[in-house]
């Protein structure tokens, strides 16, 4: 990697701005509301961008590019099916309860609506999850910096071995994230998410422009890739006929309904961004505003992956029997995507059928290196680093809030002064970051443990949306019902996973650890169906238990349940300001995109 002074200057300036914002905001952090909820005062467009960007960590950017190269444009379903409808739903139907109840976190909403045990279950699993997500983000970044040899030259100049690259990356990124979250709390994190969003656009737009120009535009790309790669709905009637290995029902119900609504409508990491808005109207508009850039992001993150696959594979001249021939360079895979190298052996990794595996995660980084000269390369890498760090910061801010309000204040030390909780939040930021570092090193040492933990989190998250849906729209739902429903939903997810296996995988972490009763065509199909099962079981059990337990007094549920809450008045607003119209426009736009790229 040939970085020159100008690249480092850009990276350095970005860090100066990030920390500068934190330092500037420090003086405004007077109450815990300032620190954890940005004083509930941010404009809708800022919250909207942060709502979208909090999810746009680099793990996501790299991963979407990788999926673009692996599955083609069908990856867009993660945006058009797997995000937009849920974002419209939370904006129109759920935000009135989150924001209107004045709950300070998603677990706190569960406390208000149901009871303490439901809150505790959600708060503790969420807190653990954020730490690991933040650690995984940190690990992925350090790994990428190592693979691309970004720090090798500066380390050599300081007389340090290149193997320190991993530690230095972790240490510096942790320090910067700690710095700006500690100083400016959620406001700092949100502002940096906004900066990161624009940086990603600034860095990836030229990349897509150059890539498309090179392959002859979208029509040129179509001729160079298999047809299923450029048509998102092709072959969706049968799981075996499309790159994803999922049929349309599993896709729409699993990804489009349970997984996506479970994530966008109940994950405090994103909901916190809307809670920071200055008014109910702005809070409701936050996810709707977020949906607009969200639906166009496939062009920036998925398209480069597809282009990377379509480009010619690097060749090198080799002399065979005195004749010069061109053949694939060593470790060249397909297009710009290299073969995956097994870390233990240093040789190309192979799958169970002995075929070499491609390292799709390098699609985006290799595109940057391929097209960008020094200068804009610095900008592109800064954008990647920024999204890694805001991915961490997003988790850290969600963690410190849930820790302070839902665990510390409600179970460890009640009734202290607001100042006390503000300091606790700052302190939680420090140990949140320290735990994340621990998680990053755990990920580096025990890869399987991380896979296992992510699986457990998936089980815990899968049923959540059923609980919120019933809680907000059925006044009869009770705390015992919700709690039992969640536990049963998680158990159902685990059982389903233990009884099914994706085609071609080994029994174990991929499933089938009880016994294999069903084979899925792909891991994705198994994931989607795990979520569907968890949702259905949680939904049914919550209803069943609620009906046999004592309902809460309706007076206590005002502002928490749809039928007992006054609808927010929109009469005085012009049509383009009304959330309902905005939501409709967003849905139509998403539909049009689906039709164009069907």
């Amino acid at each position: 990697m040939n970085l020159t002074a100008i690249d480092w200057v850009i990276m350095f300036l970005y860090f100066v701005f990030v920390l500068g914002i934190g330092v500037f905001l420090k003086r405004f952090m007077k109450t815990s509301t300032d620190f954890f909820l940005a004083g509930r005062s941010l404009p809708a467009w800022v919250c909207g961008i942060a709502f979208m960007a909090a999810n746009l960590g680099a793990v996501e950017v790299i991963g979407m590019g990788a999926s673009g190269a692996k599955y083609g444009i069908a990856t867009s379903h993660f945006y058009w099916i797997g995000a937009i409808p849920a974002m419209v739903f939370i904006g129109l139907f759920m935000m009135p309860f989150y924001y209107g109840s004045r709950a300070r976190s998603v677990p706190e909403f569960l406390r208000l609506r149901f009871d303490e045990k439901t809150r505790a279950l959600n708060a503790i699993s969420f807190a653990v999850m954020t730490i690991f997500s933040s650690g995984i983000s940190m690990y992925a970044m350090a790994k990428l910096i190592q693979v691309l040899h970004i720090l090798d030259v500066p380390l050599a100049k300081m007389g340090l071995p290149a193997s320190w690259s991993f530690h230095v990356s972790i240490f510096i990124s942790a320090l910067i994230v700690l710095g700006y979250v500690f100083l400016g709390g959620l406001t700092s994190a949100i502002y940096n998410e906004v900066l990161q969003f624009f940086l990603i656009v600034a860095g990836f737009l030229p990349l897509v422009f150059l890539g498309l120009k090179n392959v002859g535009g979208w029509s040129g790309l179509k001729t160079q890739l298999p047809s299923a790669f450029t048509h998102s709905w092709q072959g969706m009637t049968n799981a075996n006929n499309n790159p994803l290995g999922v049929e349309w029902f599993g896709l729409v119900m699993g990804l489009g309904f349970t997984l996506s609504f479970g994530y966008w409508c109940t994950n405090f990491l994103v909901v916190q961004r809307a809670m920071a808005a200055g008014s109910m109207l702005d809070a409701r508009r936050t996810p709707l505003i977020a949906a607009v850039p969200k639906m166009f992001f496939p062009a920036l993150v998925i398209l480069p992956g597809m282009i990377a696959l379509a480009l010619p594979t690097p060749q090198q001249a080799v002399t065979v029997n005195g004749v010069v021939q061109m053949q694939a360079a060593p470790n060249a895979g397909k297009g710009l995507i290299p073969l995956k190298i097994d870390v233990a052996t240093g040789k190309p990794a192979v799958d169970r059928e002995g075929k070499p595996v491609l390292d799709y995660d390098l699609a985006i980084p290799n595109m940057l290196l391929h097209y960008f000269p020094t200068g804009i390369l610095g900008l592109g890498l800064t954008a990647l680093l920024a999204s890694f760090m805001s991915g961490m910061a997003g988790n850290v801010t969600a963690f410190n809030t849930v820790w302070t309000y839902d665990i510390y204040q409600s179970h460890i030390y009640k009734g202290a002064s607001d100042k006390h909780y503000l300091h606790m939040g700052q302190f939680a930021t420090i140990f949140g970051v320290l735990f994340s570092i621990g998680a990053a090193y755990t990920a580096a040492r025990f890869n399987n443990l991380m896979d296992f933990l992510q699986l457990v989190f998936a089980f815990v998250n899968a049923p959540l949306f059923a609980t919120f849906l019933l809680g907000m729209f059925w006044k009869r739902a009770t705390g015992h019902g919700a709690f039992t429903g969640l536990l049963c939903g998680t158990t159902a997810a685990a059982l389903h996973h233990g009884l099914s296996l994706p085609h071609g995988d080994l029994v174990g972490i991929k499933g089938g650890w009880i016994t294999v009763v069903h084979n899925y065509p792909s891991e994705m199909a198994q994931n989607f169906w795990t979520a569907i099962w968890a949702f259905v079981v949680c939904f049914v059990v919550t209803i069943g238990i609620s009906l046999i337990t004592k309902p809460r007094d309706e007076k206590e549920l005002v502002g928490l349940v749809y039928s007992l809450t006054e609808k927010p008045s929109e009469e005085h607003l012009s049509w383009y300001q009304r959330p309902a119209y905005l939501g409709g426009v967003v849905l139509v736009m998403a539909l049009v995109l689906n039709i164009i790229f069907r």
Partner: protein, 76 residues
């Protein structure tokens, strides 16, 4: 809020824009072989600068409006 985020965005992108555009104009032109012969530093730099200035202009307009809105309250 205490800090209008459009100011830092505006300043940062203007600065990046000026740096990249200047580097594109005066720097080594041979490096653009990889970007299909396009001086991508200059082009992206100009784009960033325009965006940065736009953000600063919006922030400035916002602060003028906020002041105008605050005045009647101060009198009352």
């Amino acid at each position: 809020m205490s800090l209008d985020i459009r100011y830092p965005i505006g300043w940062m992108f203007s600065l990046f824009g000026v740096i990249l555009a200047a580097f594109g104009l005066f720097g080594d032109q041979r490096i653009y072989a990889r970007s299909l012969g396009i001086n991508i530093n200059f082009e992206a730099g100009v784009g960033l600068l325009v965006f940065g200035i736009l953000m600063l202009a919006l922030a400035w307009r916002g602060s003028v409006k906020a002041k105008a809105a605050a005045k009647p309250e101060a009198k009352a």
